[in-house]
Symmetry: C2
Subunit: 346 residues, 2 copies
DNA sequence: TTTAGCACTCGAGAGGAGAGAGTGCTAAAC
DNA sequence: GTTTAGCACTCTCTCCTCTCGAGTGCTAAA
């Protein structure tokens, strides 16, 4: 895009003023801006050009200019300076990262809450599991005659358990046999690889203990499947209403409805690679997000898992600042949850 | 409260009309009501009396009447007929109760979502644990040389586990010893009963394995504490905006902010006994709920635990219908989760 | 190429008129 | 004594008009 240096400076001034005030920006306001020694009339001409290029918009003829989504995009790509966190900001984020628990679900929930508080926007957080999980190890523990605890450990080092009650008695040796059978024949398999044939072979070996075996296997499958699905959490929804663009309900309601519909959340942007991504207005595929921007940071939880933390807000937002905060926070979460930590189940 | 039969009928007609329309009800409207063959003028007189008794209110001099919180209370206590669910309603609720998972957290979340959908109000659901939990049983499983799975089972039949890594090697026999020590000295104790003295005695017995012991015990304490805390979930927040009383933001915003603030949620009404409870307007202790009503049903999960499911909405709501639905749903959840089921951890 | 000047446009907000719904009171009817 | 019809009154809501002010685009001069 060939665009003069002066136009860039004007565009940037318009965007930054609009981000700060939420009011359409007039030529006079820009003229007063330090560093630009040009008259309002000149600026008007330049703004008319910028509008023709699709970077600015006019709500109506006699109002100032407002950045278009394309304008924001240009700003984010080329004009925006990297925001450096102040010491206070870092301290605040660090304090928030002192999470008491390392339980994945809770960390995600808490992280989302904190980011929402700090950014003043609704925030979403999620964890995405790997696509192929297998069981590495089974353990059967007998509690009472007909009560067992089954413990399974996945190849992602996650441990899950379940208490099971059985109508039939089983002896210690039967349990031992079952344990061996499970650990030899059912480890390293994806749910699809546990075929009816495999089960019928196992049935012959397990005999009376087959009922328990079946329960254990179906639990294992459940665990594997669950790992592959997403856990998602949204926080601070009502903060949307604190921003002037959502002061009228017609605008706010559909967005709030979308964001509070749990099912819909999985349609929020979820980038694959590790970076802060910014989706401005119509760059979002989802209809309800056409007038909003989404900023999302992704981080490595290790063992094939990724975490995501992002915020949703009006297109007018301080992209530099928010992106920097998300980036810093995501880095902190990666350290907290990332590879090298012992992953604890929940 | 001595109040004539006719006044009761008028009050009831006013309330039910207001519930249906959300508009102040005039004398003419009531006069047209089937069954009441009295003129608007008479009704005006009666309504003036009802207002003097504090059961009705007038938004302004020349508007119709609106029920006061006291009026709703009287209606709920004495006038309201028990709503009987239609077959469709029951089917819908039954379908919603076909939850795939029995994981407590998920059931709670899902139940809240469903109730919110059905009632069109934001809903909250929670589980409250017992006040004293102890560990019934410990199991230590060795995965690799320095990696262990610890499994603890509480006296509420909940099983939790954690993967632990240790910098030091331990032998099979040391593990066995530790297992015995844990199961003899640390079972049946509340977190408070695990004193520094007890730990130092254990230290002498455990010797090299003390590091692992300490990790296991602190995990056990974490599990016990966690059991005593509440898990809460809110769903369908944005539905609030669908109701006319929240069409202006000044009214909606503080309530939405309150309900989306996770910490605050624990101040929502949480009755102890099994019944549907109704809190109307100022009957709620919390300031943010002064203009709202809360209907909440409580049910038994068994093993000392209770579940709660409720909705929040404007004071104008169809108390009979909502209460009936919550009651039915809570009963279903009790069957699903209640005593007799094997409680599975998550 | 930039700037000053000026007519023009458009939205926000204030003020006022009128309609409509509902009331309370009075006096007549049952 | 209770109920009802009639009527003046009150208050909100909506619509209309008017004005104000901010900001623009265009033209002509610097």
């Amino acid at each position: 895009m060939d665009i003069s240096e002066r136009k860039k400076r004007i565009l940037r001034a318009v965007i930054e003023d609009y981000i700060a005030t939420a009011e359409p920006v007039g030529s006079k306001t820009i003229a007063k801006h330090a560093g630009l020694n040009i008259s309002p009339a000149t600026i008007r001409n330049e703004m008319a050009d910028l509008e023709a290029m699709g970077l600015l918009e006019q709500p109506h003829t006699s109002a100032g200019r407002v950045p278009s989504p394309g304008g924001y995009r240009f700003y984010v790509n080329e004009l925006m300076e990297r925001h450096r966190l102040s010491v206070q900001e870092m301290e605040r984020l660090n304090a928030a990262l002192q999470l008491k628990t390392q339980e994945l679900d809770r960390v995600i929930t808490e992280a989302s809450r904190v980011i929402s508080q700090i950014t003043k926007y609704p925030s979403y957080a999620m964890s995405a599991g790997p696509s192929h999980v297998t069981i590495r190890r089974f353990d059967l523990l007998m509690v009472e005659r007909q009560t067992f605890i089954v413990v399974v450990m996945t190849d992602t080092n996650l441990v899950k358990n379940k208490l099971m009650r059985l109508p039939a008695d089983l002896s210690e040796s039967q349990i031992h046999l079952l344990n061996c059978l499970l650990n030899t024949s059912f480890t390293g398999l994806t749910p699809e690889e546990i075929t009816p044939e495999l089960m019928s072979v196992a049935k012959q070996t397990a005999e009376d203990a087959y009922a328990l075996l079946a329960m254990v296997v179906s639990f294992a499958i459940e665990v594997m499947k669950e790992q592959e699905t997403y856990a998602i959490h949204m926080s601070g929804l009502a903060r949307l209403l604190e921003h002037p663009e959502y002061r009228n309900l017609e605008r706010a309601q559909p967005l709030l409805a979308y964001l509070s519909e749990e099912k819909m959340l999985s349609t929020l942007p979820m980038p694959d690679d590790s970076d802060v991504k910014i989706y401005i207005g119509p760059e979002n595929a989802v209809g309800a997000l056409q007038d909003t921007s989404v900023i999302v940071a992704s981080y490595d939880i290790g063992e094939n898992m990724r975490g995501l933390i992002g915020i949703v807000g009006p297109t007018r937002m301080d992209y530099a600042k928010i992106a920097a905060r998300l980036y810093y926070f995501a880095e902190g979460l990666a350290k907290l949850l990332g590879p090298g930590e012992s992953s604890s189940e929940h």
